[in-house]
Amino acid sequence: MSPRRLVWLLALALPLCLLAAVMLGAVRLPALDVLAVLVGRDEGMQRLALIVRQLRLPRALLTALVGALLAICGAAMQGLFRNPLADPSLIGVTAGASVGASLVIVFAGGAAGFIGLSLVSLGAFVGGTAAVLLVYRLATGPQGTSVATMLLAGIAIGALAGSIGSLLEFHADNEMLRRISLWRMGGLDGANWSRVAIVAAVAALIFVVLPRQADALNALLLGESEARHLGIAVDRIKRQLVLLTAAGVGVSVAVAGAITFVGLVVPHIVRMLIGPDHRWLLPASALAGAILLLVADTLARVVVAPTELPVGLLTALLGAPFFISLLRRRREYGL
């Protein structure tokens, strides 16, 4: 498929998915009414307008933004690590965020948050970004940043965070345990407009800056010294990519918990369709990530309505078999 065509297709599909996500749920809303509310004509439909404006629309937007962020950050990470099997959780974001969230759940209970983010989300964000910065510091020496050391440091931080997490669970009571495990599964049920605004601000920054590094990422795939020989300021680019991905994944984890596999699987599917050129891979991944997470979250809300499944459970359920098939067939894709 030509890259341009894929990006166009995805760009056309995204609004449809958004509309479907707003229409579907415990109560099914008619498309025309939803469209009428969206353009501000809601006479005589107060209840429907409330559902759309306060519940479904912020949730759909948050879902799309988180999906796009996870996928574009995953694509950038895989390029940076020159490893098509890399995932943002590899550099410790998810593990750190999980410890941050658990710490808050166990020690701060239901304390209030600020600007729409619960304290748990803030804990997750701080934990996630701290883990990334720590990994980055560990891997950076006088000779620059070593990607191999960074992967190993990510594994070490992950293990450390895992054991701290287990220790916290050991101390937690039943209610806390349930909240921790629900948080780990991920979910977008906490969506509201202030969360949308926070994530949109981070996403705007990432969507503007990351695609400008597409050529540098392409050159980096050849190897770090090869990229340097092509005139790329490799160390500056690496620092920028690590900080951006930390912010992007950190904020996603903070508002939606640990949603796995989107960052890994989406860039892969896109690469299989249009190749590894980051000039197309980055925007196409962002769009496809938004669509995938919207579909998963809509399913999560519909299949066992009126309750809902944690969306992280669905992405893992869909993503893991795909990943396994990928591992089995990796030769065919020329990986």
Partner: protein
């Protein structure tokens, strides 16, 4: 006489506190080809990597176009100096044409010119028929020719830069006899357009056939430097490689040929 394109003065390189190249000294004019020979671990690769600024010299100076190499901004240097490394670890399925196009990324020559250059370098390296194949599926020799086309495209045009330097670390190591000759002839054609070439070659006879001058290194020391006929003698081969050889003169090219003793 003009300032040479590349000047290396008293160059000493260290790695882990040990000198890997000591007091190397040579100059290279536009269009000249210098072949660096020597046993494994003699410092040949360290030397070519220093010439593109990968390492900071412990002593001495490297000047490109009369200006210290370290003073060139990265992008401007990339428009002038290209290096073919011994091995490349590209594990993403770029097509062959995409890999070669990456060589144009320091330039702002426009996509039409770039496409033309990619087509020319693909043809020069005899890989035009592979242009849409994924790089990851190629054989070792094909990959090497793709990488060569990539670094050639980086310094392909006269209008890209006044001073152009091509560094080749074992460019023909994985190639068959026919492609060895093809590649060396293409390198010679680039040199004829004013590109200075420094190559690391293990095939002494091939190096003697195509290089204007040779530099023999052993343990980082310069054992000999000069024309192929002056450098390649049985006595020197003994000193460099600790092995018996016979050196004869090629009946057609009149360059030295090393026979196993």
């Amino acid at each position: 006489m003009n300032t040479p394109l590349l000047e290396v003065v008293g160059l000493t390189l260290t790695a882990g506190g040990r000198a890997v190249v000591e007091a190397a000294e040579f100059g290279l004019a536009a269009g000249e080809h210098l072949a660096v020979i020597g046993p494994n671990g003699a410092g040949k690769s360290s030397l070519v990597h220093a010439l593109i600024g990968d390492t900071t010299p412990a002593a001495g100076a490297i000047r490109l176009g009369g200006r210290a190499l370290a003073d060139w901004p990265a992008r401007e240097r990339a428009c002038r100096v290209a290096l073919l490394p011994q091995a490349s670890a590209l594990s993403f399925p770029f097509t062959v044409a995409e890999v070669v196009r990456l060589g144009r990324s320091p330039h702002a020559s426009g996509s039409i010119a770039d496409r033309q250059i990619v087509a020319e370098t693909l043809a020069a390296c005899d890989i035009a028929h592979l242009r849409d194949r994924p790089y990851t599926r190629l054989s070792g020799g094909e990959k090497q020719r793709v990488q060569l086309a990539r670094v050639m495209s980086q310094i392909w045009r006269v209008e890209d830069a006044d001073d152009r330097l091509l560094l080749l670390d074992e460019p023909v190591a994985a190639l068959d006899l026919g492609h060895q000759r093809l590649v060396m002839r293409q390198v010679a054609a680039l040199a004829a357009q004013g590109v200075a070439v420094v190559s690391v070659l293990h095939d002494i006879s091939l190096a003697a056939r195509y290089a204007d001058r040779m530099l023999a290194l052993r343990d980082g020391q310069t054992i000999a430097a000069g024309t192929p006929a002056a450098v390649v003698t049985a006595e020197r081969m003994q000193r460099l490689f600790d092995t018996q050889t016979r050196v004869i003169t090629h009946p057609d090219t009149h360059t030295p040929v090393v026979l196993h003793g």
